[in-house]
Amino acid sequence: MRENLSPGSKLLLVVIFLILYAPIFYLIFYSFNSGGNMTNFEGFTLDWYRELFHDTRLLIIVLNTLVIALLSALISTIIGVIGALVIRDLRSRQAKNTILSLNNVLIVSPDVIIGASFLILFTMAGIKLGFYSVLLSHIAFSIPIVVLMVLPKLQEMSPTLIDAARDLGASRFDVLRKVILPYITPGIFAGFFMALTYSLDDFAVTFFVTGNGFSTLSVEIYSLARQGISLNINALSALLFVFTLVLVIVYYFITQRNKPSGMGGKR
């Protein structure tokens, strides 16, 4: 739909984006503050950024966070898609609702409980706390959201599409690969990004299931709260943010370039 947006609509979008980005700009603004806090801007300085580059420990933590986020989002997306397919194929409404409810349990539960119960499970199973326990936990709590993002698209899909494909001789696998997956791709992407968000933001669960030096950015930041967050964290967030922004924009324009023109790229 390529109607042009009315000026009023454009204004609304602008306002929304402004509000969305306001705290971020605030954080970035103060990352240059020589004053050391987030209230009085005293002078411009790059000290906080300089400090960052000397802090190897923080760097490792950031990398840990990224790896966990990417891997857990990836794996949970795959499992989540499988889950959505399972749920869709269920015949009885009872079973469907039960599994769906079970699926959502982790979204309902407060992080503290998830963290505590996973901790108990891991220690019972004798799994050492560290990278793997964190990864497993992140995968675990991201799966439900992937399911919730993918399922509506699956349910919308008309079964006649599948019937038509099978009529034309497609095997089950082909149907999956060439009919279902392309149709639900927006849902898959949505799920993936939501999973990323859940992972990057998580503190409580990670805190409980980590051990022995493996830490993520969230845990580090929350631990700093008692002493007051020093502005090198602002600097770090600013860098990560800009980096992500650039990545997103570049990725988008690359994929746009690859889309065959006129083939239904836009609707």
Binding site: T39, I60, F192, F208, G213, G228
Partner: protein, 357 residues
């Protein structure tokens, strides 16, 4: 489908690359080596430069992890699966850990620098004879107030908080023992009181404070007070000294009805792997010059008497942060009240919080 596969591959490659970087960084830092020491401490509660100093002196690699609350730390250590060699809990948690056999006794012969600690802070009820812990930092709980926002009025007691002029001006700490303790102290009861009638009285007294309370917050109260969001706040002495440095209008007082004396001590949890290094580290931190440097960075009060000689006079003579023995006599250390009583405190605190609506 193609797009998905592309994305999938991209992520796998990026992750692999990141993992490679991490492991190379880790080994270059010596983290995956042999002789390591894992420290579990409050956030930003040590001058990290000292960790490097320790590493150089002893050749032991330090792994540093942080927590933000005693209970969270306790849960982690209790559950097992961790190998922290040194931890820094607060006194009431140490009491609990001691009773639950979660600590390894200290070998005092390996801690010669112990003698520098002020005797006032040794052999306290929560750890008799310091079998398991050595003081790291200490302080009091008191009131921070903004003299300019209060037009020069001075606060000296808990009772002053109930003054009507302070409507919507007070920030409380989100801690049951601190707030209930305040209530109890204001009624001249001990802050370790477990008498149900007294507790109810304290809670009801607190309810009457509601109009004066602006918010009940956590660590952010420091920032809020420094930014003059509120005129008065319940605070720990260490936090107070920090923000007073930032905002000259602030003053700190330990109320005359009595208050809490707190300690954060170094302990060796039973899950420790490198007990030898743990002792070396604790002894290192007890060195007066090291303690002095740490104190200047963290800006809390050091229990190390010898270290005071290396600190500026104005800090050491400041009675607000280094109260005389006469004053500290009147203050109480939190006792471990046992689960039932603690639960009762928290229930009443929860009810109090809900009363505010």
């Amino acid at each position: 489908m193609k797009k998905l596969v592309q994305l999938f591959m991209a992520i796998v490659i990026v992750s692999a690359a990141l993992l490679a970087i991490i492991s190379s960084l880790n080994s270059s830092e010596g983290y995956s080596g042999g002789n390591t020491l894992t420290i579990y401490n409050w956030g930003d509660y040590i001058d990290e430069e000292l960790l490097s100093q320790f590493e150089e002196q002893t050749g032991i690699k330090v792994i540093y992890a942080t927590f933000d609350s005693n209970e969270a730390m306790l849960t982690k250590i209790k559950q097992g699966g961790t190998t922290y060699d040194v931890a820094v809990p607060s006194e009431y948690t140490i009491d609990q850990m001691r009773k639950e056999h979660l600590l390894i006794p200290l070998d005092h012969s390996k801690l010669p620098n112990m003698k520098y600690i002020d005797e006032r802070f040794m052999d306290l009820p929560f750890d008799p004879e310091n079998k398991y812990s050595i003081p790291y930092f200490w302080g009091t709980v008191g009131i921070v107030y903004n003299t300019s926002m209060l037009d020069g009025k001075r606060i000296t007691s808990w009772a002053d908080l109930w003054d009507e002029d302070l409507s919507n001006q007070i920030l409380l700490i989100d801690g049951a023992r601190e707030v209930m303790g305040m209530g109890l102290n204001s009624l001249s009861y001990s802050l370790n009181d477990t008498n149900e009638a007294h507790l109810q009285e304290a809670k009801e007294k607190l309810d009457t404070l509601t109009p004066n309370i602006k918010a009940i917050v956590g660590d952010e109260s420091k920032m809020l007070l420094a930014n003059e969001e509120a005129a008065v706040g319940l605070a720990w002495s260490g936090d107070a000294s920090e923000i007073m440095y930032e905002n000259e209008n602030l003053d700190y007082v330990v109320p005359k009805e009595g208050s809490n004396l707190w300690f954060d001590n170094m302990v060796i949890p039973k899950t420790a792997k490198n007990v030898e290094a743990a002792h070396q580290f604790i002894n290192f931190m007890l060195d007066p010059k090291v303690a002095a440097q740490n104190t200047e960075y963290v800006s809390y009060s050091t229990p190390n008497k010898e270290a005071l000689k290396y600190l500026p006079e104005e800090i050491v003579k400041d009675e607000r942060f280094y109260p005389s023995p006469a004053l500290t006599e009147k203050l109480e250390v939190y006792e471990n009240l046992g689960k039932q009583n603690l639960a009762r405190y928290n229930e009443l605190f929860l009810e109090f919080k809900m009363h505010r609506k």
